[in-house]
């Protein structure tokens, strides 16, 4: 039990520090790399919570595909730094206050409501969260949402192609 606590709090520290690093990095490439670290720690949390398949999907989809796409676009645009020009001055303090208010609200709810929830059991079925169980759920009770997901991805692909293609045609017509 003690190892679980040590593991949780060290990982939580890494997750929060990397999230703050993402927030305060001047350079967008550093922000992306901090976010990769954050996603990797979240994948370890998923492993701790008996979700090995989700953890691997997290690493391959988020840290693999999505963050590579982010880094690719950052480097394509050469937009890793933007200057502090014409920033709205009152925005930062207001944002900090609002964020603090949100955190205090959540903390209040956690402290007043969640104390009554009993801790979960330690024993768990060996197949919980395994690829077989996830796949069985996904292809039986959640088949329709799964199919709709494919339509969503198709729309996203078409959208991405159309958004970048139209611009290129307009350039050629101008020339």
């Amino acid at each position: 039990m003690t190892t679980q606590y040590i593991l949780f709090f060290s990982l939580a520290l890494i997750a929060v520090v990397s999230a703050l690093g993402m927030l305060f990095s001047r350079n967008a490439v550093y922000s992306a790399l901090y976010l990769v670290l954050n996603f990797a720690t979240t994948a370890v949390f998923f492993l701790l919570l008996h979700a090995p398949f989700i953890a691997i999907a997290q690493v391959s989809v988020y840290t693999g595909a999505i963050m590579v796409l982010f880094l690719f676009v950052i480097m394509l645009l050469g937009a890793e730094r933007i200057g502090p020009q014409q920033a709205i001055t009152w925005q930062r303090p207001v944002a900090a206050i609002l964020g603090l208010v949100l955190l205090v609200e959540v903390g209040y709810i956690l402290l007043t409501q969640f104390g009554f929830i009993p801790p979960g059991t330690d024993e768990i079925a060996g197949s919980f969260g395994s690829p077989e169980t996830v796949g069985f759920s996904l292809f039986t009770s959640y088949l329709l949402p799964f199919e709709i997901t494919s339509v969503l991805l198709l729309v996203a692909i078409i959208g991405a192609i159309v958004l970048t293609k139209v611009e290129r045609n307009a350039d050629q017509e101008r020339k």
Partner: protein, 100 residues
């Protein structure tokens, strides 16, 4: 397992950092990354409660959240590239007209 509110608390902190990123940062790409961080915080709560109630529904929902996140990133980054071509900037303070 650890008490589930540890995970809820951690997720809340990560979500607030993501929300602050959307409010504070001016770089459109970093704002997108903050949105990803918030989605990830939500995923953490889903998986924590799936473990707590020993039901697969939470883990299945994480898959759908990941799919929506992937679609959102693909379209969003295409939008950012298109905006950069038109305005030569991704500072959202300079993207203040809808005329393009």
């Amino acid at each position: 397992m650890l008490p589930v509110y540890y995970y809820v608390g951690l997720s809340a902190i990560l979500f607030v950092i993501g929300a602050l990123g959307v409010l504070i940062r001016r770089n459109a790409i970093v704002i997108f990354m903050s949105v990803e961080l918030m989605l990830n915080a939500a995923n953490l709560v889903f998986v924590a409660y799936a473990r707590y109630y020993q039901s697969m529904e939470g883990q299945i929902f994480v898959f759908f959240v990941m799919t929506v996140a992937a679609a959102e990133v693909a379209v969003g980054l295409a939008l950012i590239v298109a905006i950069f071509k038109a305005k030569h900037s991704i500072n959202i303070d300079q993207i203040n007209t809808l005329k393009g």
